[in-house]
């Protein structure tokens, strides 16, 4: 394990402990530690174990999935602005989930929503990679992503117009803004298989991503099959983005910021970028969720909004720097 990974893992552990402490119900440090150890009164134990920790775990897992998906997509498309949110993958994934809900599939099976979200993510990723294979540059890809995002948003609104019940608008807000409030262990367990398989696929593509840095043809001549790498990353990021959207709605920009920060620490290597990016994105989302919980707003700020408030400016900054270096 590299030093970067170790430091990030320690930070994540610290934030987990902090998130067990933070919240509206007053729980002292001593009570909190007792509850973590499985002692103390039942109410405190419930607050720590059934409300705060699953929420923290959901934030971390979703962040890590988005960070890994972002790092994988960036390596594949060789574009530091690639990320499920920016490229419309998350929006398509949310569209899949919304369709599943409004067609009543969610009532049929609990895995219908995650499955539809993953399918939506897969469709968007496939379209993007088709564009990339046909030689689309950074700008084209981002434009395709913007198009996919807006299109998915419009289709979601359409689905809601057709939806019979009045609660759907707040549902839409939840899907589009993203939140991990009130998530239970069951939600995490539901997403876990897709996250685990998706993560494994992307990590498996790691060496191929480094070879791909020398271009498709050279990579092929080196013995790294670019098609296989592409399939692994498409499949992996679809699973990761889909499962994270099914858990927390769409949360943008985290997957872009984390790899950008990590890259200089891992010698710009697309393979070594993967795990630290996942950890950092998890940390970022965990910290953002902590902030959302302690900030004194009347109504809780949505996690996706908090992430975008920080991530948006960073995205613009990276884009501006890229524009300068390529012009």
């Amino acid at each position: 394990m590299s030093r970067v990974t170790l430091i990030l893992a320690l930070m994540a552990g610290f934030l987990f402990a902090a998130s067990a402490l933070a919240g509206t119900a007053p729980v002292s440090l001593g009570e909190c530690l007792a509850a973590l150890a499985g002692q103390g009164d039942a109410a405190t134990q419930a607050i720590v174990w059934e409300i705060r920790l699953p929420r923290a775990a959901a934030a971390f897992v979703v962040g890590a999935a988005l960070g890994l998906a972002g790092a994988g997509l960036q390596g594949l498309l060789q574009n530091p602005l690639a990320e499920p949110g920016v490229l419309g993958v998350s929006a398509f994934s949310a569209l899949g989930a919304v369709i599943a809900i409004f067609f009543g599939l969610a009532a049929v099976s609990s895995i219908a929503v995650p499955a539809a979200a993953i399918l939506g993510a897969g469709v968007a990723t496939l379209l993007l990679v088709l564009a990339a294979v046909r030689g689309a540059g950074s700008v084209t890809l981002l434009l395709v992503g913007i198009g996919l995002s807006s299109f998915a948003g419009a289709l979601m609104s359409l689905a809601l117009n057709l939806a019979p019940n009045p609660y759907s608008l707040s549902d839409l807000v939840n899907w589009m803004m993203g939140s991990v409030a009130n998530r239970s262990w069951a939600d995490i367990v539901l997403a876990a298989p897709a996250l685990a398989i998706g993560g494994a696929l992307v990590l498996f593509a790691g060496p191929g991503l480094r070879a791909l840095s020398l271009g498709d043809e050279t990579a092929a001549s080196l013995g790294a099959d670019p098609k296989r790498t592409r399939l692994l990353v498409i499949g992996g990021t679809s699973l990761l983005a889909g499962a994270s959207v099914a858990t927390a709605g769409t949360i943008g920009f985290v997957g872009i910021v984390a790899p950008h920060v990590i890259r200089p620490f891992v010698r710009h290597d697309p393979q070594r970028l993967l795990i630290p990016s996942a950890l950092l994105a998890g940390i970022v989302l965990l910290a953002a969720d902590l902030a959302v919980r302690v900030l004194p707003f009347q109504q809780e700020l949505k996690l996706g909004v908090a992430a975008a408030l920080v991530g948006g400016p960073v995205f613009i900054w990276i884009a501006a720097r890229l524009g300068r270096s390529s012009s």
């Binding site: 840095s213 020398l214 001549s221 790294a224 710009h268 290597d269 697309p270």
Partner: protein
């Protein structure tokens, strides 16, 4: 080592390589020359497996190229393309380590002793040992070219194909490149290098293949391949009394 028979390749409906045949045995050092658009790079690409052959057969180390998977082919043959993009600002030694992808797909520090030694040796052969540890995009064009050469030399493949490796190199490094490739051939590898500098080809390569309009028009010792007739017909030049090449009138 490598044998090409009746190879034809079409790009966008145009036949770029048209019935090319030659054999190359271990220890041979062959220059592939010809005017722009003669099909040299495409022929190399077909041998490297990145351009689809329309007709003909390529045998690499006794096996049909089409029956080899990417990994098996990479163990037998290494290719240095003409365009050498490097996305991301990789470290020099990580770029070179990719030359051993078929042996071990790890980054430099995960290669193991043997792999790291091979990378270090390759960097030294390409006169790029001092560049180790540097970021690739901070290097000059010539330095980047030498790192790419080291990437090729790091591969233990018995057959090396180089497409215009001299571009961006200063004269001293061009000469040292040709000496290095000669030494690789002497150590038993089959080396084919696409060159535009006929003097360099004649001086270092015992065998020259000349291509023109997709066909092999000469294959032999430099004196024979670069005969006055071939120079005039293929390259449109003639040798002046001073020994210099000049455009045919």
């Amino acid at each position: 080592m490598i044998s090409v028979s009746g190879l034809s390749v079409s790009l966008a409906g145009r036949r770029v390589v048209d019935g090319v045949s030659f054999d190359m045995t271990a220890g041979e050092f062959v220059a592939l020359t010809g005017p722009n658009g003669a099909g040299k790079s495409t022929a190399l690409k077909a041998m490297a497996g990145v351009a689809a052959a329309e007709a003909g057969e390529i045998m690499i180390g006794g096996a049909r190229a089409g029956s080899l998977n990417a990994l098996e082919r990479a163990r037998r043959l290494a290719w240095l393309p003409q365009s050498r993009p490097v996305a991301w600002n990789l470290r020099v030694e990580d770029v070179v380590a990719l030359g051993r992808f078929a042996q071990s797909p790890g980054a430099y520090d995960r290669l193991g002793d043997e792999g790291r030694r091979a990378v270090d040796t390759a960097l030294a052969k390409a006169d790029a040992g001092h560049l180790a540890g540097r970021a690739f995009q901070a290097l000059s064009g010539g330095e980047q070219a030498r790192v790419h050469l080291a990437r090729l030399l790091a591969s233990p493949a018995p057959c090396l194909l180089l497409d215009e490796p001299c571009a961006a190199l200063d004269i001293a490094h061009q000469l040292s490149l040709m000496e290095t490739l000669g030494a690789e051939a002497a150590s038993g590898r089959a080396v084919m290098v696409v060159l535009h500098d006929l003097e360099l080809a004649a001086r270092f390569c015992p065998r020259v293949i000349v291509m023109d309009q997709g066909r092999v028009v000469a294959d032999g010792a430099p004196a024979e391949a670069f005969s006055a007739v071939n120079l005039a017909r293929v390259f449109g030049v003639q040798r002046a009394p001073s020994g210099q090449l000049q455009r045919s009138p």
